[in-house]
Symmetry: C2
Subunit: 463 residues, 2 copies
């Protein structure tokens, strides 16, 4: 398949330095971490106006457009399953404004999250959302998926920091929402309707985010447990206490083993799980909080708690957490990283249930979790070319979804629905919700040209 | 006008203890703090199911329904301008669940905000949103308007605490959104689309909100200034510093004079403005923060800063802030409380501009502000029965809106649009935004039966 020649010529003219359709380019832009589908061309606009021209042309030629940040999605979200264009934001990569006076940053969608975090820190400010892929992912992708990460337990998610967006509607009209005010209730909250809409309602090209003062200090601690469920019980106890850790990450033994093989990292032989716990705030308050949290861990079975002595020890813990997934991927034939969330009091039941379901279907499952907000990521290892193992994974997926929903949880805490969870969506959302979702989609994109074939579009004929 | 007899009978049956249509009842439910319009009947359901029956009946008889909490709106939001039913939430007043383990409260829409705040505090937890009317207003109203208040400067607004809603759609279908997970990205964020939608998309009947650990301590300070603009400059300086006050309230001299007449409260003769400043957190950290903030105030012209010695002194400052508006209302013939927000760096220009516009049109204007988040409330005193004064107010309103928008501000920080700002809305929101707003409204309420005649419906024929 290839684009209409007239569209191709017009796109080359509209985005002169950012039109790609060589086979190797199409291959490069065909996948995320979950799925694969080739576009017919790739456009990389440098501005909202160029993006608007591209979307206007796409509509004229009835051509689908799939927005793409860095492609770090784990759900197939940025894969062009209906062909057409991939519209990448990589060249819209400028921090447009960083105001210490207003505690606001305005950035283009292609800015890398860590780039913003660093620029903000230099001003003595703090942009809290911190997806594990912060070094690679884009702010636009974070907005499109309402990305969270480890800091969510104290600081919430991307949604909580947005004050305004610039976006392009299918057909090329430019939409501005919100602005740079901390409070703004003029009109429906289209800012947050676009946040988490997975590129199906509009192409986000700019975002304004509010910033916090930089916490004075941060301190990290490791706590090792001999039992995974007890670890989750410690998490629940910490969260129902009066303490507010800014990090509360759980890693199970299978994950730690992968880390040990890949990095200069070791862990106690009897450990079944590690909690990485951080508190931040005024320096003088951290020691007392750490002691109290260590005590709660010990009451729930931790056999070793160690406060990181310095930034090097802290960085080693984070390298384990951040690098572990990549280490695991390199060591196994194939792995799927799943994403569920439950109320934190249900975390012990959830980790126990996931372990049980893995054993039932004969699958190796490593578990990590942004445990403090009940967001867990089982990583299922299997060989997709083996029919029996694929069937076992499908059964695991079904049973795990059921277990999570029975615990009052959600099918996705932060990765989104994309392709991966689309077929499961009606198990969580009612017919009334899905009907409204489709009507909202139609309001923004009546011809279904923007990121088609994902999310609620799977359920189009259900009610 | 009165309801169809069959509808009347059916409503009496559906909501047996909560159907009112005596003339005195219709009068009582005819007004908020801004406007007045009589309904044909009032229904006060006790449950989501009763509310759903009422909305189903209303649709069958093509009868408008205007949701109402406590009627503390300042914009005409809950006034039934097209007649029909007022649906009050006063009898849906139960805290359904308060989980310390999950840091979640689930409440019916008619729960009074202060009632929830107190129940939560008893568990050692904290529900931050704190509209000035917290003692009277309802959680459902807070959600419908995305209420803010004094705590917004540190803790954000109602929207930031919602994890899920139960609502009734026009026609009576029950919609559940979200749940009790801290992270949840399954489906579009209809939770936040309903928040701030001013009762035009669905009738909110239940809300789940996340809770924080209770701050260990809070400390209050008063700072008096001889110049209003300098006061706003102090606010901007505090907000661009590394400090995060949880209260940063500005009151001007006109407001303080009203307070002095009404309460046992005095202020220095030379004071043109008062800042009420609070910090909260670990006890040991508060003194240092207060000293630093006092220093910033003095650098910007404060001639007196006093830390409240105890809870009694703190309560006196809050009585001034909370009771002052009522005091002013009692002392003048008529007053309109307006609501704008600007980026905090523009607060000095905004207070100066508002003062200038008031003088230009010969109107007395008192100014209070949730200054730390740039949210200001000019209170304009005039006689609406005097044609010249009414014209002066209209001119003030137009000029003030222009001034705020030119400063990058918004027409409403927290009161909402309702009737009051509906005609101004196209000056802030683009035709594209308003078209999407109307299409979203149609998706939820195709017959325009829910809170008709407000907000974007004013702009129906504009693009």
């Amino acid at each position: 398949m290839s684009l209409h020649a007239e569209l191709k010529a017009a796109l080359r003219k509209a985005v002169p330095t950012g039109y790609l359709d060589a086979p190797e380019d199409l291959r490069v832009y065909s996948y995320d971490m979950f799925a694969r589908a080739e576009p017919e061309a790739v456009v990389l606009p440098e501005s909202t106006e160029q993006a608007a021209e591209a979307l206007a042309l796409a509509e004229r030629f009835e051509t689908p457009v799939t927005p793409r940040g860095s492609g770090t999605s784990l759900t197939g979200g940025p894969t062009p399953v209906r062909g057409g264009l991939v519209l990448g934001t990589a060249r819209m990569n400028k921090v447009l404004d960083l105001s210490r006076a207003d505690r606001i940053a305005r950035v283009q969608a292609g800015v890398i999250t860590a780039q913003l975090q660093r620029a903000v820190l230099e001003q003595g400010l703090f942009y809290p959302p911190n997806p594990t892929s912060a070094d690679y992912c884009t702010l636009g992708g974070n907005v499109a998926t309402n990305a969270g990460g480890a800091s969510g337990v104290k600081y919430g998610v991307t949604r909580d920091y947005l004050t305004g967006l610039t976006a392009v509607l299918p057909g090329g009209e430019i939409l501005a929402t919100g602005g740079r005010c901390m409070k703004d209730v003029a009109g429906y909250d289209i800012t947050r309707l676009l946040c988490g809409s997975e590129g199906r309602l509009a192409l986000i090209t700019e975002a304004s985010v509010r910033l916090l003062p930089k916490p004075e200090a941060v301190r990290a601690m490791s706590a090792y447990f001999t039992d995974l469920k007890a670890t989750a019980e410690a998490v629940a106890a910490i969260m129902s206490s009066g303490y507010a850790p800014c990090t509360l990450e759980l890693m199970d033994r299978a994950f730690l083993k992968a880390v040990k093989q890949a990095y200069d990292f070791d862990f106690p032989a009897e450990a079944q799980a590690l909690l990485l716990i951080e508190v931040d705030g005024p320096e003088a308050t951290l020691g007392g909080q750490m002691q109290a949290i260590a005590r709660l861990c010990k009451e729930h079975g931790a056999f070793q708690t160690t406060v990181a002595a310095d930034e090097t020890e802290r960085a080693a813990l984070w390298q384990a957490r951040r690098g572990g997934t990549a280490a695991l991927v390199r060591q196994v034939s194939f792995m799927v990283s799943l994403d569920y969330a439950v109320p934190v009091s249900q975390l012990p039941a959830a980790v126990e249930g996931i372990g049980h379901i893995g054993r039932k279907h004969g699958l190796d499952v490593a578990v990590i979790a942004h445990a403090g907000d009940g967001n867990l990521h089982p990583m299922v290892i299997y060989d997709p070319s083996d029919a029996a193992q694929s069937a076992a994974f499908a059964a695991f997926d079904r049973d795990a979804c059921n277990a999570v929903l029975e615990l009052g949880g959600t099918l996705s805490g932060e990765h989104g629905i994309g392709l991966e969870k689309a077929a499961h969506l009606p198990r969580q959302l009612s017919p009334a919700f899905l009907r409204l979702a489709r009507e909202i989609k139609r309001s923004f994109d009546p011809r279904d040209l923007l990121n088609p074939g994902k999310c609620e579009s799977f359920c189009s004929n259900e009610d």
